[in-house]
Amino acid sequence: MYKLEVSHLTKIFGKRQKQALEMVQEAKNKTEILEKTGATVGVYDVNFQVKAGEIFVIMGLSGSGKSTLIRLLNRLIDPTSGDIFIDGQDVAKMNEEELREVRRHKINMVFQNFGLFPHRTILENTEFGLEVRGVEQEERTRLAEQALENSGLLAFKDQYPDQLSGGMQQRVGLARALANNPDILLMDEAFSALDPLIRREMQDELLDLQAEQERTIIFITHDLNEALRIGDRIAIMADGQIMQIGTGEEILTNPANDFVREFVEDVDRSKVLTAQNIMTSPLTTNIDIDGPTVALNRMKKEEVSMLLAVDRKRHLKGSLTAEAARDARKQHLALAEVIDKNVRKIDPDTLITDIFPLIYDSPAPMAVVNKEDKLIGVIIKGRVIEALANTNDAEE
């Protein structure tokens, strides 16, 4: 038996829903339906099953209905039709009392903007689920402190949410859900409001947690990389309908339709690719200002062993290796004296196919410079190979 099973789930907002439903069946698009009937199709005929202990990721652009879908699962939004089975019980048909029991014991949620109560301390926030369940004060404090301990936030238990950073707040949001020990965890774009570094940390933490506890997690995101990192299986949504469900590999290698194909690449294959399309932002050091220590520091932070050297006006001057910087530090030289001026420069409009042969004999990454000799990007081997592989696939 599946932990969670969703069949023919539909949600339409607004009036004249019948007419809207007919139009969806005729495969009319959302805008057309809205103009005609004034009804919005949130989710249409969604079916999927999730096994216990699986991380099931739902992806889609904004407006694809993914947030509506996750709220249908715990009935924050009532479905228009369809069924949601949790452990074989149909949540969609439950009365308020039964639904409340399910929400208290089986299914909890983590929110995009953390959903913490600003008037309660971290501890009071964490024990909220236990409090509404009517757990004794002592017991719920114990459980909440345990959950905070696990996420390393026990020291902050008497603070208020707005005294914490975003990452900490989201850990509290997670701890609040976990303190309840639910079978199913719903995560609605839980990491989208965090900055990329913290986001990656949180993803790792979630994976560690999952390795330990094996909960069923429904995870919503609009970020493909995030989905690929943590999802056991991924469902891609558009216009309220699921386009494809599969593992990351399946979706990348075998997209079900054009929409998915376009979605999983961030480059448009119909265009002939040039350097501009595949360059990434360069990691630079400013030789007019930085000294060798600053440069080394940046390499350490960015986890690279080479930087491009520019002057104050972003004109490309050369490249700087870690060894050269270290020498400069030892001998008290300026960076300008140790940089390697021999850097391959490329025009932004160079075709990939022309770049490919150059890559093999270029020691440093290739710099993309514009007409004024200003650095605008950098080409990395991996990107070129990936791009070429994709174009070849398309030709087959």
């Binding site: 014991h105 903007n113 959903g115 008037h119 509404v132």
Partner: protein, 574 residues
């Protein structure tokens, strides 16, 4: 087409509906009135039992605690209240505080649940919003009319009118505050299986608290602003001082009462705002702080209870005095006579309250037994319409002062001798007094009766404003026609004359009558007897009036007159 010529009888419908309400729910209204009066008298007497200087010290201490040791509010509280006490307005201040407290509490008790209901239901919001707009834009005076019909005169109708007027901000802010809570927090509460009740008390109200309190602050301010208006229907307090100053054109007294109201408003405003600043400083509220706050509240409540018990004990020691309630209009003549009668009754050992009211309300209050009696009925012409309306609900004890008259009055330099001679003097305007006064009705009839007054206007204002206008006109040697009556001090101050009235529309010779409620002779036979005997002359009255006009308080002027005329007064008591 008929509809354009025939006015829709909206006034009659409203009248009918109000009458139906009054008769159907008279039991409920009576109960509420008795209960409200008991509660409010209890509060006022308790506040008055605390010696003023001690009270001022306590409030200053409270201000010091509430404002977290800032001296500004403390000093303002101390000096402001001391000023009010110094001006002899302490009792008025306590009455006003009672009125504001009770109005605010009733508004909050009704308003917050209503606001919550509104926030939870869009249909409810659509229904209540226009109603709130209506409540806030309707002139507050309008609420006084049904208030009198339902609850008679005094504090209770004042509270009723204040509540209608002051309720909207609390309802609006509560609704707004709850609707403004981020959806995510509401979802969070729901997603953990919180019941609606848990959501309300654990999430919504705590988060909405500050905004709701801002609304409550507005409500308190509005209730305070209604104090002046409500004094027209007998609500005691500082408003009465403002109103009577307006009617006597007494700038100084009006200003003093006004400033006292401002002081009270600022103190209340700062108190409520300071109580609202818990969460602003984002340091966790420790249990120690909570304990402190609880202690302060306990101390306040304990002090009040102590005072209440003290008051009750004192009451028991005092012989239970019988109460007499006299109504009057703020005309100089009636202020004089009512105060004299009141002082005599006090000497006889009664507890007398005198309530200044608008003329029409005064008649009504005697007719329905709210007030025991009045000595201010001008008959047969001036108050003819009121007499006709209430004659079978009242007892006419006959005249207490003969030979008064009303008429159109001009300065003696005006050429016209008779009403029929008026053509285009004084911008074709008759300067009148309060629109509800009897003399105004008579003047209206006069405009209709004399063909030469076809295009004249009758402009209403107040007794005080009319005397000021008269003074100005005489200074500038301009023509002015006023609705006058005697006895009045203006005849001794300026050279004036009555215009002859060949058609008799302004009424001929009149007398001021004493009117009592039904059954007063059975309930308070001694009072009834005194009122029956009470009779004096124009000269007597003008003696008292002049004293008051020279700056004596009405009470003292009355006492002085009684001292001087012992014989006469003893005759009344026989």
């Amino acid at each position: 087409m008929n509809i354009l010529q025939q006015p829709i009888p909206l006034a009659q419908w409203v009248e009918g509906f109000t009458n139906w309400l009054t008769s159907t729910f008279s039991g409920l209204f009576g109960f509420l009135q008795a209960l409200g009066n008991a509660i409010m008298n209890g509060i006022t007497e308790t506040l008055l039992f605390i010696p003023p200087l001690l009270f001022i010290a306590l409030l200053s201490l409270l201000a010091y605690i509430v404002s977290k040791r800032k001296w500004g509010l403390t000093i303002l509280t101390f000096l402001g209240l001391l000023f009010v006490y110094n001006q002899g307005l302490w009792e008025n201040l306590m009455n006003t505080i009672t009125l504001v407290i009770v109005s605010s509490i009733v508004s909050i008790v009704i308003g917050i649940p209503l606001g919550i209901w509104m926030a939870k239901s869009n249909r409810m919001e659509a229904l209540i919003k226009p109603l709130l707009d209506f409540m806030q834009t309707m002139p507050a005076f309008v609420y006084l009319i049904p208030a009198v019909a339902f609850f008679g005169i005094g504090m209770v109708p004042g509270v009723f009118a204040s509540v209608i007027f002051a309720l909207p901000p609390t309802v609006r802010f509560t609704n707004l505050a709850i609707r403004q809570i981020p959806t995510e927090l509401i979802e969070a509460s729901d997603s953990f299986g919180g019941t609606n009740r848990q959501k309300l008390f654990k999430v919504e109200l705590p988060l909405a608290k500050n905004t709701i309190l801002a609304g409550v602050n507005q409500t308190i301010m509005l209730a305070l602003s209604m104090v002046v208006t409500a004094s027209m229907i007998g609500a005691p307090g500082l408003g009465r001082g403002v109103l009577s100053a307006l009617q006597h054109a007494d700038i100084g007294a009006g200003f003093v009462s006004g400033v006292s109201l401002v002081i009270l408003a600022i103190i209340i405003d700062r108190f409520t705002q300071n109580l609202n600043q818990d969460q602003v400083a984002k340091s966790p509220v420790t249990s120690k702080d909570k304990k402190k706050r609880r202690l302060v509240w306990l101390a306040v409540i304990a002090a009040f209870l102590l005072a209440f018990i003290g008051k009750e004990l004192q009451k028991n020691q005092e012989a239970q005095k019988e109460k007499v309630n006299l109504a009057y209009v703020e005309w100089d003549s009636e202020v004089a006579s009512t105060n004299v009668v009141a002082e005599v009754l006090k000497e006889m050992g009664y507890k007398v309250t005198i309530t200044p009211l608008d003329n029409a309300v005064m008649w009504k209050s005697v007719a329905n037994g709210e007030a025991d009696a009045m000595v201010s009925a001008w008959l047969p012409t001036t108050h003819a319409s009121q007499y006709k309306e209430y004659q079978d609900k009242i007892v006419d004890l006959g005249p207490n002062l003969e030979g008064v008259r009303v008429g159109l009055v001009t300065p003696d330099y005006t050429s016209a001798k008779s009403i029929a001679d008026l053509s285009n003097q004084a911008k074709k305007t008759i300067t009148g007094i309060e629109p509800g006064a009897g003399v105004m009705k008579a003047a209206d009839e006069t405009l209709k009766a004399y063909p030469n007054l076809q295009d004249w206007k009758l402009s209403s204002s107040s007794t005080g404003a009319m005397t000021i206008a008269l003074e100005q006109a005489i200074k500038n040697k301009e023509d002015i026609v006023i609705t006058g009556w005697s006895p009045h001090w203006m005849f001794s101050k300026y050279k004036l004359k009555y215009l002859e009235d060949p058609k008799g529309s302004m009424g001929g010779k009149e007398a001021i009558h004493t009117i009592s409620r039904k059954n007063l002779d059975k309930d308070l036979p001694k009072v009834y007897k005194l009122l029956d005997k009470f009779k004096w002359s124009q000269k007597d009255m003008e003696e008292v009036m002049l004293k008051i006009n020279e700056g004596a308080s009405p009470e003292n002027a009355a006492k002085e007159w009684i001292q001087k005329h012992k014989k006469e007064v003893d005759n009344w008591k026989k």
